[in-house]
């Protein structure tokens, strides 16, 4: 296709992506260097028969004036990145000097909002992704062994958790697991502990959200693996059976190597999706004990008094850096393959 024709065909979609994905990333970058204005204070002298007092009050008029004149806020450089709510450089230095053991230091650091969220996000990715791959593969193998006629409805049932939006999916589970729901109430009876509930324990909340993640993402892995299983050639499998290979050996030495590229694809996609975990935290109302990076951004953006654009933008940029680190190996590999192909 000539370059000119290509240009006109690609222009609409390219424009949409540049304007609403490319520019926002740049806009986020710029915003992250600004912080909202401080409130302007003025001294007010108040005199009464017993003498004069000077009090400091917020000058609302001046504050809103400067907010209007410079809506982006004041320039802050890397100040937002290093403050307490983000990388917390000063605090970490302080903890390093003040704590005696390494454990105590880690304890202090992981209580800072950004690191807390980072650790939750990474833990979530680390536990959900491998389990999604495993469960998806087992379901695919299992359904593949069922008679063809009844597979349709079974597949429909299997993909339900995937097609609902994460907020709805987590709500539906939450209403069952909550202390007043069917599962929660029964666990309380079983454990004989009327105060056992999701909100009472941080570990329990984390486990619940991770289980939700596996429940929600496994169907996707299943669908892709199931389709890949249909393409596995039958001859080597039959040869292996005749040679006396066990079922497990056949899966390990024939099926898995055949679908290996698909496994990396699913792992990559689910890693990207898990890294942005956010809606389940709202669905499970777990803000108290589990915060993710995306949730931090959301929290800044729905702030009641003044929207913390700078703070949200700084977290966003660091999230994007995190995504870049996750994606880098794949991109480098693609680039190498591309260079060889040329």
């Amino acid at each position: 296709m000539p370059n000119k024709t290509f240009f006109w065909f690609f222009l609409p979609t390219g424009l949409a992506m540049i304007l609403f994905i490319g520019l926002p990333i740049i806009s986020t970058g710029i915003q992250s260097f600004y912080a909202q204005h401080d409130q302007i204070v003025k001294e007010v002298k108040k005199c009464d028969p017993f003498g004069c007092t000077v009090s400091i009050v917020v000058d609302n008029e001046e504050t809103s004036k400067i907010r209007e004149a410079k809506p982006l806020g004041k320039f802050n450089g890397f100040g937002t990145y290093t403050d307490r709510n983000h990388l917390a450089v000063d605090e970490i230095r302080k903890f390093w000097n003040e704590t005696d053991s390494f454990g105590a230091f880690i304890d202090q650091v992981t209580n800072l909002p950004f690191y807390k969220a980072l650790i939750f996000t990474l833990t979530y990715c680390l536990f959900v992704t491998p389990n999604v791959l495993l469960l998806g593969f087992v379901i695919a193998l299992s359904l593949n062994a069922v008679a063809r006629k009844i597979r349709g409805p079974l597949i429909f049932g299997t993909i339900l958790p995937m097609i609902v939006t994460p907020l709805v999916g987590s709500l539906v589970l939450f209403w069952m697991i909550d202390s007043q729901g069917i599962i929660g109430a029964n666990i309380q009876n079983l454990m004989n502990d009327p105060y056992l509930s999701l909100k009472s324990s941080k570990t329990l909340t984390w486990i619940t959200i991770i289980i939700y993640g596996i429940w929600h993402h496994s169907p996707f892995a299943f669908v892709v693996f199931y389709a890949a299983l249909q393409t596995v050639p039958q001859e080597p499998v039959e040869a292996a059976i005749i040679d006396g290979a066990s079922r497990f050996q056949r899966i390990k030495h024939i099926v898995l190597p055949h679908i290996y590229p698909v496994v990396t694809f699913v792992a990559l996609i689910s890693l990207m999706d898990n890294f942005r975990v956010f809606e389940p935290i709202i669905g499970f109302s777990a803000e108290g004990s589990a915060q993710s990076l995306s949730w931090l951004i959301y929290d800044n953006l729905v702030n009641e008094e003044v929207i913390l654009f700078g703070s949200a933008a700084a977290t966003s940029i660091m999230t994007i850096v995190g995504i870049a680190i996750l994606l880098a190996p794949v991109l480098i590999r693609t680039w190498k393959e591309f260079r060889i192909a040329r």
């Binding site: 296709m1 024709t5 290509f6 065909f9 609409p12 979609t13 390219g14 949409a16 992506m17 609403f20 994905i21 520019l23 926002p24 990333i25 740049i26 806009s27 986020t28 915003q31 809506p71 087992v138 299992s142 062994a145 597949i155 049932g157 299997t158 993909i159 339900l160 097609i163 609902v164 907020l167 709805v168 539906v172 589970l173 209403w175 007043q180 069917i182 429940w215 892709v224 393409t231 039958q234 039959e238 059976i241 005749i242 079922r247 694809f265 990207m272 809606e279 990076l293 995306s294 951004i297 959301y298 953006l301 949200a312 977290t315 966003s316 999230t319 994007i320 996750l326 693609t334 040329r342």
Partner: protein, 293 residues
């Protein structure tokens, strides 16, 4: 062909059946339970005293005189203004699907027919864009949108959702266009068609399965979106998913939690029916990118 070489033992078959039943229970029961519970009153579905009330409908019987009640639905749809939210969702979904398909088919066709290097790099760029968490993009939108005073209205959200949806649509349609043989284009071009005529009259008619699949995914994205719609729309224009969340926020009100339950059912039902009919297309769409690339 199956020669019957692969003999499964009875114990393996039993194990397999049990596993599938257990999994389906885990996958589907929460939805069935919510559907069931949406016809009860709050004191039954979220029972403090006994979870069995949700089944025996103890309080529902006292409060409404029947074992099932549709109060939660009627209140949410009228008083809770869920009708407005669903109207907004319908508008957003229709526009997002049609615009994304229009842009996506043009772009993906060009990408699939170009042999240049830049086509490859554009696809990689789309993959990177696909990886961006939506909330980071939203944090980029908010400030400019406030300044331009286009925040809170449906058209802005539609355009944003179309753009966010483009990378995936491009990849999906690209892999579908790749399966259409190039000879088809070439013969049309030789016969004197322009590129656009070829695209419009020769390629699109054979592309319907791919277009339907891409359309379904755009629909699911627009219908299911929470991050963008919750933050870019004002209260008045909220679509269904943020509306459901707003019912959760005000827990004090007796009926509100049940509104959320009934709205979840109302919002999910159309999606399930759709998937029931188009299951094949969705599965082919999810696998198209994976198997070929």
């Amino acid at each position: 062909m199956d020669y019957g070489l692969d003999k499964k033992t009875t114990s393996l078959k039993t194990f397999n059946t049990i596993f599938i039943i257990v999994w389906l229970l885990i996958a589907c029961f929460p939805f069935i339970w919510t559907f069931w519970g949406s016809f009860k009153v709050r004191a039954d579905f979220f029972s403090r005293s006994d979870w069995w009330y949700a089944i025996s409908a103890f309080n529902t019987l006292i409060e409404t005189g029947g074992k099932f009640t549709t109060n939660a639905y009627s209140q949410a749809w009228t008083e809770g203004e869920f009708w407005k939210a669903s109207k907004n969702t319908v508008i957003v979904t229709i526009f997002v699907v049609s615009i994304s398909l229009f842009l996506g088919t043009l772009g993906a066709y060009a990408l699939s027919r170009s042999t240049r290097n830049y086509a490859f790099w554009l696809l990689i760029l789309a993959l990177i864009f696909r990886a961006m968490p939506h909330i980071t993009l939203v944090s980029g939108y908010l400030f400019p949108f406030f300044e331009l005073q286009i925040w809170g209205i449906l058209p802005t959200t539609i355009v944003v959702l179309v753009a966010i949806n483009q990378p995936f649509t491009l990849w999906l349609l690209y892999s579908f266009f790749k399966t259409v043989p190039r000879e088809l284009d070439e013969s049309a071009l030789i016969d004197g068609c322009s590129y656009f005529q070829t695209f419009r009259h020769i390629i699109m008619p054979v592309m319907w399965p791919g277009v339907i699949t891409a359309g379904l995914f755009s629909l699911m994205l627009a219908y299911n979106d929470f991050t963008v719609t919750a933050l870019l729309l004002n209260q008045e224009n909220h679509t269904m998913v943020p509306k459901i969340q707003s019912y959760l926020g005000t827990n004090q009100h007796e009926g509100n939690l049940m509104w959320a339950v009934s709205s979840v059912v109302s919002a999910t039902a159309p999606l399930f029916i759709l998937v029931m009919f188009f299951q094949r297309q969705i599965i082919s769409g999810l696998t198209a990118g994976a198997i070929k690339g």
